[in-house]
């Protein structure tokens, strides 16, 4: 994925619908500049973010994962972010304990009115991930797919390249 010089970090951000997503929206409508490396996934609440969202992102080769929700005390569902905070405190420490670089997975609070803050969070995180370089540790070796180096002639190899929509062949209506 990474050729030196051309590599750009890929960051996935799970943003709560009520605060951080709105904050991102505000940053966008206010035409604030921030790094284009982030892909946003809207979730109902930071409490909705299953650790698997984060781990699967890393497994698929994402370089950084951000989870952002409402500031404590401002959760649309009253306590979702409080619960999330406990979960993430443990998860972040566990991942770093396992050797995942500090900063790959981050958490922040951004309210609906904090477009500037959102842009700064993304800028800061992108810079940090850029320093860390491409994520490698949890990345699952991508499937090698077809026709990789060795096609064994002793086994059959199937290849089809008929046009996608052939003329429909007449259906035998004999038996209904």
């Amino acid at each position: 994925m990474a050729e030196s010089g051309t590599w750009e970090p890929k960051i996935v951000a799970f943003l709560c619908n009520w605060c951080s997503y709105a904050g991102a929206d505000l940053a966008g409508t206010s035409r604030m500049q921030y790094a284009p490396n982030v892909r946003i996934i809207r979730v109902p609440c930071s409490g909705r973010v299953d650790p698997f969202f984060i781990l699967s992102s890393l497994q698929k080769g994402v370089d950084g994962v951000l989870v952002s929700g409402c500031h404590p005390g401002e959760c649309h569902y009253l306590t979702g972010n409080y619960s999330a905070r406990r979960k993430f405190a443990l998860l972040k420490n566990l991942l770093e304990f396992a050797g995942i670089e500090e900063g790959r997975v981050q958490f922040s609070w951004v309210s609906a009115s904090e477009g500037v803050r959102f842009a700064k969070v993304i800028e800061k995180m992108t810079a940090q991930i850029r320093d860390l370089g491409p994520s490698k540790k949890l990345v699952k070796t991508p499937p090698r797919g077809p026709l990789h180096a060795a096609v064994n002639k002793r086994f059959e190899s199937v290849l089809t390249d008929r046009p996608p929509h052939p003329a429909p062949s007449p259906r035998d209506g004999g038996e209904g």
Binding site: Y82, R86, L90, L94, F97, A98, E123, M125, V139
Partner: protein, 324 residues
């Protein structure tokens, strides 16, 4: 022999009497305890349903399994021969509504720590042990042409070395004398590991999980892994692949440990079950430490205290939250 009967012999007798009494009076349908195993250095779980079978029950330094593992989703009324860790697991299971408090009678046994058979085997290898005998703080190992006496404390399981609650925290009947407890687990091993460089930590764990054959013995031996459908078995979505790919296996171990955060009672059943010696405890202990440091919680100690991930405090630590 004029020697005093060992603590183990004494406890065994008491357990048998208690079990017989409970069965006779129909207070329980089954007593889940331990019996002598089929090979040296092994005792194993056993289910006693009739008074005539109570002599199967034993107590010794090899009762390493978790009897709490068997209580979830069982209809019978049970009596359980519970070590300190088993009683802590039962506390959690009761709190998580997997078993009703009045469905179990806990025969608590203060635990001197269980003996790690791999340590014993390594000690005498390549000679084979045919028989063992526990004498106070010593373990006598007997083979066909040797006899060796070793301090018990040299042979304890890792989880027993760091155990701070060897006495049952919840018991209806206590058998045997309470043992001295350590004040606090210093988590030296975790601090030392944390002091390593991230790449070293990763390399170590990667090497560990690469041994894993995905037999799920760690999960199945765990008294608190009772989910009807485990995350490794879901297909929609399928979170992790089924092969022994390093990334999949690492995620399995990370999430297995994480799902036990605030619930793990540090019994070590997972690690003892592992056939290939994966250092499973490393992740569990990290979470034990963090749960204690962050939320001041230790699992299995009280029936009233809420599970740490089922509650929160407005002023929970949040130094990890990023501020731009």
């Amino acid at each position: 022999m004029s020697e005093m009967p060992s603590m183990e012999t004494f406890v065994t007798t008491e357990i048998r009497e208690t079990a017989g009494d409970l069965l006779r009076k129909n207070k329980v349908q089954v007593v889940i305890g331990f019996e002598r195993g089929s090979i040296p250095l092994r005792s194993r779980p056993c289910f006693v349903r009739s008074e005539k079978d109570i002599d199967r029950l034993v107590w010794d330094g090899f009762c390493e399994n978790s009897v709490a593992r068997y209580v979830a989703k069982r209809d019978e009324k049970m009596a359980l021969v519970a070590k300190g860790c088993d009683s802590r697991a039962l506390v959690e299971l009761i709190k998580e509504n997997q078993v009703a408090r009045d469905q179990v009678i806990i025969i608590g046994v203060p635990c001197r720590g269980m003996i790690d058979r791999s340590r014993v085997e390594a000690l005498v290898a390549p000679r084979r042990i045919l028989e063992t005998e526990e004498k106070e703080d010593l373990l006598v190992l007997k083979g066909s042409d040797f006899e060796e006496t070793v301090p018990r404390s040299d042979l304890l399981c890792d989880s027993c070395r760091t155990c701070t609650h060897p006495n049952p925290v919840l018991a209806d009947i206590l058998v045997g004398e309470p043992v001295v407890e350590e004040d606090q687990d210093p988590f030296d091993d975790i601090e030392a590991f944390d002091a390593m460089r991230p790449d070293e930590r990763w390399a170590y764990l990667r090497n560990e999980v690469n041994k894993c054959i995905r037999c799920y013995a760690c999960r199945n031996a765990c008294p608190l892994c009772y989910c009807p459908e485990c995350f490794v078995d879901t297909t929609l979505p399928q979170w992790i692949g089924k092969s022994t790919d390093t990334s999949d296996t690492m995620i399995f171990h990370l999430v297995r440990a994480y799902h036990l955060a605030g619930r793990c009672v540090a019994c070590g059943a997972c690690e003892r079950a592992c056939p290939v010696g994966v250092d499973i405890r490393k992740l569990n202990r990290k979470l034990l430490k963090d749960v204690r440091d962050f939320f001041g919680y230790e699992a299995g100690l009280s029936l009233d205290e809420a599970c740490p991930l089922a509650t929160f405090c407005p002023d929970d630590p949040e130094a990890f939250i990023m501020n731009p």
